[in-house]
Amino acid sequence: MLNRTREKINDGVYLNVINTDKFKTELISFYLILPLDKNEVTSNTLVPLILKRGTKKYKTSLDIERRLEELYGSDMSVSVAKKGEKHAIRFSIEGPLEDFVSSDEILKNKLEVLKEVIYNPLLEGDGFNKNYVTQEEKNLKDRISSRINDKKQHAVTRCIEEMCKDEAYSIYKFGYIEDLDNITSTSLYKHYLDILKKARIEISIVSNVDNNMIKEMIKGFFPFNERKSLTLKREKVVFENIEEKIVQEEMNINQGKLTLGYRTNIPYEDELYSAFLVGNYILGGGPDSKLFINVREKESLAYYIYSKAYKYKSLMLISAGIEFDKYENALRIIKEQVLSMKRGEFEEKNIEQSKRAIITSIKTVGDDTFSISEFYLSKVLSGDDKDIDELIDSINKVNKEDIIAAMNKIMLDTVYFLKNQ
């Protein structure tokens, strides 16, 4: 069982310490959580890219990189992610524990690099370094354009964009090329100062250190001045009267990518949520799921087919790669399988197997530092304080009736098909 303590250390700033001695590495993650806002998403994505370019002490990426190499290849990574209608900017540093390398104070040294990157950026006048901003704007532009490269992911992203057209959830996590033109080094730095003030800050540490020591270190390293934390809003997730949409797009490709987007209408706070997770698994969770057996094994229509739950926004997406001319056939079989779930055409055995698979994945969260960090973040964001045993218990309690009730709430919203030109 994981030993975790959580403490508020400033207005909207929380420190989560997960103490464990089974790893050879330690991980520190610093999350800035903001509302997902079309006007800010591009700037939010650009900021960590600039910060990684240089600090007052480590003026270039090269200086930072060489420092990390000295710290036995500690890895500093940044990312932005969509957590429902929230935008999470993450800065992490991960590296070997002191016991495994001949280096004193390696934790302190890792924290120092992280602090430099977040709180001590290289400035020029009243903004970020102009060269860095220009270069990273180009890199981000390329990154955004390259969203078409991964066709499977692209079909999923496009389906969500069409499905949630008028909601914040449709916003692309890396932002928009047209918004890059209006960002200057000054406006971006101002935006960053604003983020540092208003974002919810979650810091998590997965290591084998003393809680008090790490708390004092963090407080000493990170200056949380002028905080005025925003309240984060819960997403709208329940919809009535959904009209089914069909969207088809063309690209020069070899295999059609089909995605069906469903509204589950079951918030994660709802008692039926665990039943929905089990139902989703029976439908398309693994190689013994209805979709896998009927679309792949029986009909040889696809190599990959699965259904995935999107917790914060209560969506369920089914994805498959198929021959272009098998669209109607695949769509019909997939819809039939969803319908059979609603009619309760599954056995006690399917329920038990799906529960076990879900429970296995919950249990193994504690075997990986990054999963641990993300697991606790998701609990914080969803205001759910169930520990691992309680979560397992809630899955175990699910019965067939609940699953049928949950599956009868889901509604098909958008069918998206990416086909050849």
Binding site: L68, G73, P96, R296, Y303, A357
Partner: protein, 430 residues
């Protein structure tokens, strides 16, 4: 228990245990106390490269259709009683398999009922069940898998690069074959491949997690088939002669991508050996690549600042007994210019000499990375299998790395990169 040998690495605080069964099957174990997950891999030293061989009990070599090792991997999941996935699901575990150039591996991960899972793994891999009907059915599924890869630009740019480097070696063939090549696969050829390469003496079983090894050995020993010929025979695999020269200097293809992708492959001709010597070459070359092109080099900084590369830029050396190469890849608006700069950098540094301080930093980094990798059961298992089939052990890696000297790197630099031994593969937007 008798007959268990141990290798310890004090720095890593890890150890591995080995027990060899009568029929030659090697069973390995690395304990991981405190981990919930348990993981086992049952693998055969047989991959997409083994396309020409003498079938067991025969005299003459045969050439089998491209992609058959991967096809066989798919088909082993089918039993007379139905699909094996279901049985693992009943145990709440996750089962999967993969085929690469040199190995086919079957694996599961679980939290409970480890020994039942282990028994199931060992028994299903030993129970081939091929019929005309189930072989034909699989062709449609694998055709979709092949098409999925055809839409994957990183995969395409890599395989085009291999085809540019190699003239004859089967590493230039797609692992899954082509829609046409797999159409020629039948159950008779599948059985021939199976009987030749799935003999226990050509296989290894690796277990990692918080479990009791002696109990596991007993399960494996009881489950392993007794009716198979226990004579351990060397398999006659035949590889064509591969010239030192590359096949093509430049290969280009168009796909739906936003920016061009490139792979620059340097073909290695210092080949023909495995064991610790191969591991040393692998580590030296990766260390060298990082000293030449890594994010901590002036070269990377200048290229990045000029905008010709972005953070997708990276390099890796792939080491195997019969082929080896370095691949440097990424995205760029101008891949030809990137290749030119890479060659210039190599030429410059060959004149100027490498910097020993860079060597020390990168060596520390690699030590750290290796230690960090031991937090992942998947990494331990899959790397362990790879090193075992290369006649060495993963637990030697750290000591070999620590013993590498700056002079070793300087010598390696002289031979591996030349102006003539590279291929540039590019995927352009269409």
């Amino acid at each position: 228990m008798d007959n268990i040998s141990t290798i310890k690495n004090e720095n890593l605080k890890e150890e591995s245990f080995l027990h060899v069964l009568e029929n030659g099957l090697k069973v390995y174990f690395v304990p991981k106390k405190g981990f919930t997950k348990k993981y086992a891999v049952f693998a055969t030293n047989y991959g997409s490269n083994d396309n020409v061989f003498v079938p067991i009990g025969e005299k003459d070599p045969i050439t089998v259709p491209e992609g058959i090792a991967h096809f066989l991997e798919h088909k082993l999941f089918e039993e007379k009683e139905g699909n094996i996935f279901n049985r693992f699901s009943e145990l709440g575990s996750y089962v999967n398999a993969y085929t690469n150039f040199n190995q086919t591996a079957y694996l599961f991960s679980c939290t409970d009922k480890f020994y039942e899972n282990l028994e199931l793994l060992v028994s299903f891999v030993q129970s081939p069940y091929f019929t005309d009907e189930n072989v034909n059915k699989e062709k449609g599924i694998i055709a979709q898998e092949i098409k999925m890869y055809e839409d994957n630009p990183s995969w395409k740019v890599f395989f085009n690069c291999l085809r540019g480097m190699y003239q004859n070696h089967p590493v230039r063939i797609d692992i899954a074959g082509t829609v046409d090549s797999i159409s020629h696969i039948d159950k008779e050829t599948l059985y021939k491949c199976y009987n030749t390469f799935y003999h226990p003496s050509n296989m290894a079983l690796f277990i990692v997690g918080d479990i009791n090894f002696e109990k596991a050995i007993k399960i494996v020993d009881d489950t392993i088939k007794r009716d198979r010929n226990n004579d351990i025979q060397e398999i006659d695999r035949q590889y064509p002669i591969e010239p030192k020269e590359i096949n093509d200097r430049y290969i280009e293809e168009n796909l739906s991508v936003s920016t061009p992708l490139f792979n620059i492959g340097f073909k290695d001709y210092d080949i023909g050996y495995d064991g610790d010597k191969l591991v040393k070459k692998e580590i030296m070359t990766n260390l060298l690549l990082d000293m030449l092109f890594g994010a901590g080099t002036k070269f990377y900084e200048e290229m990045y600042e000029s905008g010709i590369i972005n953070n997708s830029f990276g390099a890796q050396f792939i080491a195997s007994k019969t082929y080896s190469h370095s691949i440097i890849g990424g995205q760029s608006d101008n891949p030809k210019e990137v290749a030119k700069k890479i060659i210039e950098n190599i030429t410059n540094l060959k004149e100027k000499g490498l910097d020993e301080e860079d060597f020390i930093r990168i060596k520390n980094k690699m030590i750290g990375h290796h230690i960090m990798n031991f937090d992942s059961l998947e990494y331990i298992a899959n790397s362990f299998i790879k090193y075992t089939f290369n006649n060495t052990t993963l637990l030697n890696y750290l000591n070999i790395l620590k013993d590498i000297k700056f002079e070793d790197i300087e010598n390696r630099f002289k031979t591996h990169f030349t102006k003539d031994n590279y291929t540039l593969s590019v995927i352009k937007p269409n």
